[in-house]
């Protein structure tokens, strides 16, 4: 139903960003249609563990929102537009206090105040946390508030409905969307005065990642194919230590190394003996050998690159993509006290006891800094279409700082909501009442589904997905070479071709997983090209984007946002300047304190010394 003044906003995605926006819009008295593939309480936000950043300075450390802002921009290797990053950091303390009021069981100090802990990329205690499940707790708090508005009939949930496409009018203005009921496969048009995308990251493009299974990027790709700009797609954060599984990669917290965990592989390539039978001198502690100063605690992107290359060269344990992360030399009672919870996760999913058997880990695709292009009010280039959370590109630049993801989701939702209302109130429809645009788009989507269902080719949709994931993981993650990137794009084109020859592998279409997957696969392939070609054309190294052939950050040529626009021939790339109006870019060097790196830098410094020491590269801190 529409609100008091008839405004209705559609929100796609019910994670932190989507629910934050829904709460604000309902509170302003307007109607919300909330679409989610899964019940919103089961969204991927639940996976965030570590905490949420906000500079409240309750520890007498002289922290400030400016300091948080500076850390964020510095951690992002100066690729983020600075005004929205600053605005987020300024809003962060009030966001944390709001969640406190909503009943999130944040950990406390002896005085009963909120406790804060330290995270990567900062010198301050700035991270509020609720046990080891902060994301779950924050999501539930918003879920509860939105349920309250649902009980008041202001929010209508469409759980188990997946967005297929936008409905655009003759002026390319967004007027609603087409969604599919995942049980009946019914397609339906939904009118809306504005649409907010809040669908999270695209981890499944890489096959296996730390993302949840709904994180396909499919809906965002649909927007891109309908004219929305996609920005900085090539910036994909890879976490150094995840637990490889046949189904997904599960994150293993950095604290395992913080408490003395050692990373190693057998020195001999074909050594298939159990770890316990390999004597000390036949083990290769490659991080300790290569980086004697920092050992296993090198910054995350370095750890990620080293582990990745060891495995790529066939030195992984059992020749597979895995290395040992060994805690078994530490007494079990010490481990239980300091790392109990994370050891239990490993035990639960692997079945081995890491107190006695080394854990087997591998870097895992974790987060997309890139996403839909938005302005400082979270508006995309399509009028009436906004975006918030991981699916938009703002805030994090070339690399996200740990515990900044939760706060950026809520910030994005809180900015997108009033901006969507503002748009809905002021939009001039120019006489186009849009009466038939819904039918047209609906028919188009029905035809796509109908054609897919009737395809009788011999390609297997799940095998194509596997092939895409493998080639993307091999070539477009940690270390990138232009020839491999070009090969990857060729491979993606081949897969797109073979996609035309799939057949849906389920003859029972009721609640089938096969047709939605086929739709995802097409959209993932389109977005994979954006990521790959963005990487191919950025000839520098910055944040998570690393090219050995171009090891330096090149501000002169690439202090720019990559913009991809869809064409029938694939993505068309262009570049726009980054707003660096508040902090001058300086060399990113975590071997020294920030203050020292700030001294001798000026705008336009192309930092030729950046790659001198591998330790100069930055910290890819992730909330754990």
């Amino acid at each position: 139903m529409a609100g008091s003044n008839g405004i209705k906003i559609a929100i796609v995605g019910g994670g932190l960003a989507g629910l934050a926006a829904a709460m604000k819009i309902a509170e302003a008295g307007h109607a919300v249609d909330l679409f989610s593939v899964v019940p919103v309480k089961r969204s991927h936000s639940v996976c965030a563990q570590g905490g949420i950043n906000g500079a409240v300075n309750t520890k007498g450390e002289g922290d400030s929102t400016w300091e948080h802002f500076d850390d964020t921009v510095y951690g992002g290797d100066f690729l983020a537009n600075q005004p929205p990053a600053k605005a987020m950091c300024e809003m962060a303390p009030s966001i944390i206090y709001l969640f406190d009021r909503m009943g999130v069981p944040f950990s406390r100090t002896p005085e009963g105040l909120l406790d804060f802990r330290r995270f990567g990329g900062t010198k301050h205690h700035r991270t509020a946390f609720a046990g080891a499940s902060t994301g779950q707790q924050l999501l539930y708090a918003l879920d509860e508030q939105v349920r309250r508005h649902e009980a008041d009939k202001k929010v209508t949930k469409y759980e188990g409905w997946e967005m297929m496409s936008l409905v655009l009018d003759d002026h390319q203005v967004c007027r609603g969307l087409i969604a599919m009921n995942l049980q009946t496969l019914e397609l339906k048009a939904f009118k809306a005065d504005a649409v907010i995308m809040a669908t999270g990251g695209p981890g499944l493009i890489f096959g296996k990642s730390t993302n949840s299974m709904v994180c396909t990027g499919s809906a965002v790709s649909a927007c891109y194919q309908q004219g929305a700009k996609y920005a900085n797609g090539e910036f994909i954060q890879v976490h150094p230590t995840s637990i490889p599984g046949d189904d997904k990669l599960r994150l293993m917290s950095e604290s395992a190394r913080g408490e003395g965990g050692r990373v190693w592989v057998p020195r001999a390539k074909d050594d298939r003996r159990p770890s316990s039978s390999i004597p000390e001198k036949e083990r290769w502690y490659f991080l300790e050998e290569k980086y004697p100063a920092y050992g296993n605690l090198v910054p995350r992107d370095i750890a990620t690159r080293e582990i990745f290359q060891v495995c790529l060269s066939g030195m992984g344990v059992n020749g597979e993509n895995q290395v040992y992360l060994d805690l078994s030399h530490i007494p079990a009672d010490v481990l239980d006290k300091k790392l109990g919870a994370i050891l239990e996760i490993y035990e639960m999913f692997v079945g081995d006891d890491p107190r006695h058997v080394p854990m087997r880990i591998f870097p895992g695709v974790h987060y997309s800094m890139g996403g839909l292009w938005v302005d400082f009010q979270q508006r995309t280039n399509i009028p009436g279409l906004l975006a918030a959370g991981e699916c938009d590109y703002s805030i994090h630049g070339a690399n996200r700082l740990g515990a900044n993801s939760l706060v950026s989701c809520v910030y994005g939702g809180f900015i997108a909501a009033p901006a969507a209302i503002e748009f809905a109130k002021n939009v001039q429809r120019n006489g186009s009442d849009g009466s038939n645009i819904y039918d047209q788009e609906l028919k188009k989507q029905e035809e796509i589904n109908g054609e897919l269902i009737n395809r009788k080719g011999n390609e297997n949709q799940y095998k194509l997905h596997e092939e895409m994931g493998k080639t993307m993981t091999d070539n477009v993650t940690v270390v990138r070479y232009n020839d491999k990137l070009q090969e990857t794009d060729n491979k993606l084109l081949e897969l797109m071709n073979r996609y035309n020859n799939i057949s849906i592998n389920d003859s029972n279409l009721w609640a089938t997983m096969a047709l939605p997957h086929a739709r995802h696969l097409k959209n993932m392939l389109e977005l994979a090209r954006v990521i790959t070609l963005g990487a191919l054309n950025r000839n520098e190294s910055r944040g998570a984007h690393y090219k050995p052939d171009f090891p330096n950050r090149d501000d002169e040529n690439f202090l720019k946002t990559t913009i991809a626009e869809y064409s029938g021939e694939g993505p068309v790339l262009s570049y726009e300047p980054v707003d660096i109006s508040l902090i001058k870019p300086r060399i990113r060097d975590y071997s020294h304190n920030k203050q020292e790196t700030a001294k001798a830098t000026t705008i336009g410094d192309t930092s030729p010394d950046k790659s001198k020491s591998p330790l100069d590269a930055g910290d890819k801190s992730i909330t754990k």
């Binding site: 909503m102 009943g103 707790q137 349920r147 046949d246 059992n318 079945g351 592998n505 609640a511």
Partner: protein
Amino acid sequence: MSTHQATSTKAGRIPPKTVEIRIRRREKPDAPQYWETFEVPYKANLNIISCLMEIQKNPVTKDGQKTTPPVWNMNCLEQVCGICTMVINGRVRQSCSALVDPLLEDQPYITLEPMSKFPNVRDLIVDRQQMFDHLKRVHAWIQIDGSYDLGPGPRMSQEEVAERYAYSRCMTCGCCLEACPQYDGDQYIGPQAIAQVRLFNMHPSGKITRDERIEAIMGDDGITNCGNAQNCVQVCPMSIPLTTAIYEENRETVIYGLFGWLRR
């Protein structure tokens, strides 16, 4: 491989070449249920989701009959979203954290069934909307004045927070309801909602609207229907003290029933 050896040593047996999986299937809500048996290649550390993914790629039964791929729900695969809950070897749990090796220690094959207390959509998928409706009914939220900036919430000791934290981890998976002999649709609201009443009634701001929640669990299908079987607390994957919640809320409802009218 080292892991194979570790596993086989632990279980005291040689790992099998394949894993037999029997799935209780249903084409659509009003169709009859039937069993189908599949076989997937054994690997160390397989979980149930990986087996299902393998079957999905090439849905052929153990007898070589081509069939439709079984469907199921999955999302986080880290036992925190609750969506992949099903009955595995007779016990309700999340399929992402159900490893094949320990399951094969009890019997030579694995059975997968949908939860029985919720409408069965197809194969292993059930509709748990009633659990979210419970949350609406018991007003499982803090009645904040608004989401604008009003400063921090009430001060609390770490002990109070720790007690609430235990209840706040409920992922609405439905294990407790599946295992509860009293829970059957609309006869008893069940431990899930009662534990959420406890969560919000403990909070200083939540206490203000405590009566609404207590009244919501006092009807014919309310808290007094608990038969004290204590199955719920045994199957809860998040180790939520569900029986403590029921005890505490039972006490609150009794006191409210006796003296609540005085406050009107």
